[in-house]
């Protein structure tokens, strides 16, 4: 028998599954109990994720390898909790908590089974981060996608159904690509275990190697669709902008699952090939990331609604991440992981903030304002005989809080000082400019990264300042009400981002170790392949 603490790894998958199933059995009149159970389940996941994080860091990389069904590595499905997986689990749980608390304001009553779908979504996310098996990754993707289809359509309405149709069609095709890629890899290598795959790649030659490369390419396309990389991302802005606010906040981590999969598979596939520089297909990922980033910045500038701006900033975030992953350098990657945490939390907070703001003002007011500005149809200028009434507008406290929160979101998303978004971008660019070592010339790709990242930051700032002025300095506005259940999750997420600025050093130490471990995946492979099965004594021959 193995101790209870060894089962810690499976808890992030089992807790939401049981909670979600239990909610189905509850009567609809006990909605409050469903909500309480949901919050409790997310808190338990957060605790499990934090415990895994602490253990992974203490154990020097891997918190443990869990053999499902007690089959040793290449034959059974394994769950692996290393630093990266533990970090993503914590991020998912934090986002889940904020979104779930926010949803209690009204969204969980806008349709059926919100809480169950929410838990299943978390289950799929946690499973995708933990799994060490390629096909199991597919299954977890499908779980989280199936739940996300339901959540996206939550609240119904024509825009959601229209966007949902496109979202589902694109993701179904991505799933087919995933299957083709996974089966090609299985056909060539004969294993679906990621660690085993990394080991066996070295011995491949001839046709099998070509098959594997094709399989990895197709699989990469599937991951990049999930990560919303150009040119496979035009479904995203409409889908995210039409989703309910807590759902959109949770979806902020969905594209990061794609980035996570690219990172995980990319580094493992490159383990056997020293010439690839640490990440499989790095030049492709880098250029796709840059184009995505540029497109996201252009979309930010072009969109008139705050919601669409938030959706485009998801693209900015995943473009930056892909470019940094494709840069294939451990220092850049460490800061990119920091950026991943910051941008996910900030975008989630932004989605929540937008809904609070929009629920205060008449629908479409900010759109109208921007359109008026674009066509030069400003309000008639105050003549000399007209006293300017706008002098000394009193801003209510609630509005001031929202305004400050908006400024914080804008600073975090565009990466301006003094908040943690700046630290992340600065770290990435400094790492890229420092290059391989002192004395080496700065490479062209480093300049390219610098130009595109800074340019997109500028574009984002212009876009957000413009809509911020129109939203918060508008004169006509009724009384502003701020409900704690809505404001606290949003402020909590932003507070975390601020705290990450202050606690930058221990965090960067952790992330630096994560990035180094990813670029030298031998430790991961050994941990998985050497995990012995825990058979009870006397049953050695039973199999």
């Amino acid at each position: 028998m193995i101790g209870w603490s060894a089962h810690l790894i499976i808890l992030p998958v089992v807790i939401p599954m049981i909670a979600g199933a239990a909610m189905l059995l509850m009567d609809d009149s006990r909605r409050i109990w469903r909500a309480r159970l949901g919050v409790l389940a997310v808190l338990a996941q957060l605790a499990a994720a934090l415990a895994l994080l602490a253990r992974a860091d203490a154990a020097g990389g891997t918190a443990g390898v869990y053999l499902l069904g007690d089959w040793a590595a290449p034959f059974g499905i394994v769950l692996v909790a290393d630093r990266l997986a533990a970090m993503m689990l914590v991020l998912a749980a934090v986002l889940g908590l904020a979104a779930l608390v926010y949803a209690q304001a009204r969204w969980d009553r806008a349709g059926v089974h919100f809480h169950t779908l929410f838990q299943l979504q978390l289950m799929g996310l946690n499973g995708a981060f933990l799994t060490g098996d390629l096909f199991n990754l597919f299954v977890c993707f499908e779980i989280l996608l199936a739940a996300s289809y339901g959540l996206l359509l939550h609240g119904s309405g024509t825009p959601r159904v229209k966007a949902g149709l496109h979202y589902i069609a694109v993701n179904l095709v991505a799933s087919f690509l995933f299957l083709i890629g996974a089966s090609l890899i299985y056909g060539a290598v004969g294993t679906l275990n990621m660690a085993d795959l990394a080991e066996r790649m070295a011995g491949l030659a001839g046709q099998d190697k070509v098959l594997l490369q094709v399989g990895a390419g197709v699989l990469g396309c599937a991951f990049l669709i999930k990560a919303a990389a150009w040119p496979l991302n035009f479904w995203l802005p409409a889908a995210y902008a039409s989703a309910a606010a807590p759902v959109a906040a949770l979806f902020a981590i969905m594209t990061k699952v794609g980035v996570y999969a690219v990172l995980r598979m990319g580094t493992l596939l490159a383990a056997a090939d020293p010439g690839s520089g640490g990440v499989y297909g790095a030049p492709w990922i880098f250029s796709v990331g840059l184009v995505t980033l540029a497109l996201g910045a252009a979309g930010l500038l072009a969109s008139q609604e705050l919601r669409r701006q938030a959706a485009w900033s998801v693209l900015v975030s995943s473009g930056t991440l892909l470019a940094a992953v494709g840069y294939a350098q451990a220092e850049v990657l460490a800061s990119a992981l920091y950026y991943l945490l910051v941008s996910t939390l900030a975008i989630a907070a932004f989605f929540l903030l937008i809904e609070i703001v929009e629920s205060q003002s008449p629908a479409g007011a900010s759109v109208l304002a921007l359109t008026l500005e674009a066509f030069g149809l400003e309000d008639a200028p105050a003549g000399p005989d007209q006293p300017d009434e706008v002098v000394g507008v009193t801003i209510p406290a609630a509005m001031a809080i929202l305004g400050v929160a908006f400024v914080a979101c804008a600073l975090l998303i565009t990466g301006l000082p003094p908040l943690s978004g700046f630290v992340a971008k600065f770290g990435m660019l400094a790492g890229a400019l420092r290059g391989a070592g002192p004395g080496t010339p700065i490479s062209g790709s480093a300049w390219l990264l610098l130009a595109v990242v800074l340019g997109s930051g500028l574009a984002g700032m212009i876009a957000l300042v413009r809509s911020g002025i129109r939203t918060f300095w508008a004169v006509e506005r009724g009384a502003v009400r701020l409900r704690p259940v809505e404001a606290l999750p949003m402020l909590g997420l932003l507070g975390l981002c601020v705290a990450m600025t202050a606690a930058g050093e221990p965090l960067m130490r952790y992330l630096d170790a994560t990035a180094r471990a990813l670029h030298a995946p031998q430790g991961y492979v050994e941990a998985v392949m050497s995990q012995p099965a825990q058979r009870p004594a006397g049953q050695e021959d039973a199999r």
């Binding site: 159904v161 589902i168 095709v173 799933s175 089966s183």
Partner: protein, 114 residues
């Protein structure tokens, strides 16, 4: 046999992709279905094609690799079929909802210019 299977996968995938790019939701769902058949056959083919070789051990049959095929791709196909089926059913519901809400079966919810 390889040729027939390859042709079948090719025809299914080709028709599926073509239908997927059509503007009507019904054509899209047919395209997705055909594409899923093609993908399932493809996974099956990745386990190598062998005649008269079951994927499970049977009494009376020699328990060696020569008389059995790889069972893993068959298990994968089974999983993929179930998931694909469920997703198609879900897509069908959304398709009907979109038809009801927008009053047209165009994928964009409104008729194109042509």
């Amino acid at each position: 046999m390889e040729l027939i299977l390859a042709l079948a996968i090719g025809v299914l995938a080709g028709s599926g992709v073509w239908l997927l790019l059509r503007p009507r939701t019904f054509q899209v769902i047919m395209g997705l279905s055909l594409l899923s058949y093609a993908v399932n056959l493809f996974i099956f083919g990745m386990g190598r094609l062998r005649v008269d070789a079951p994927p499970v051990l049977e009494p009376g049959r020699a328990a060696d690799l020569a008389s059995h095929v790889d069972p893993v791709p068959q298990a994968l196909v089974l999983t993929a079929i179930v998931i694909g089926f469920a997703m198609t059913a879900l897509f069908l519901v959304v398709l009907l909802a979109a038809r009801g809400l927008t009053g047209t079966d165009h994928v964009d919810g409104r008729e194109g210019e042509t």
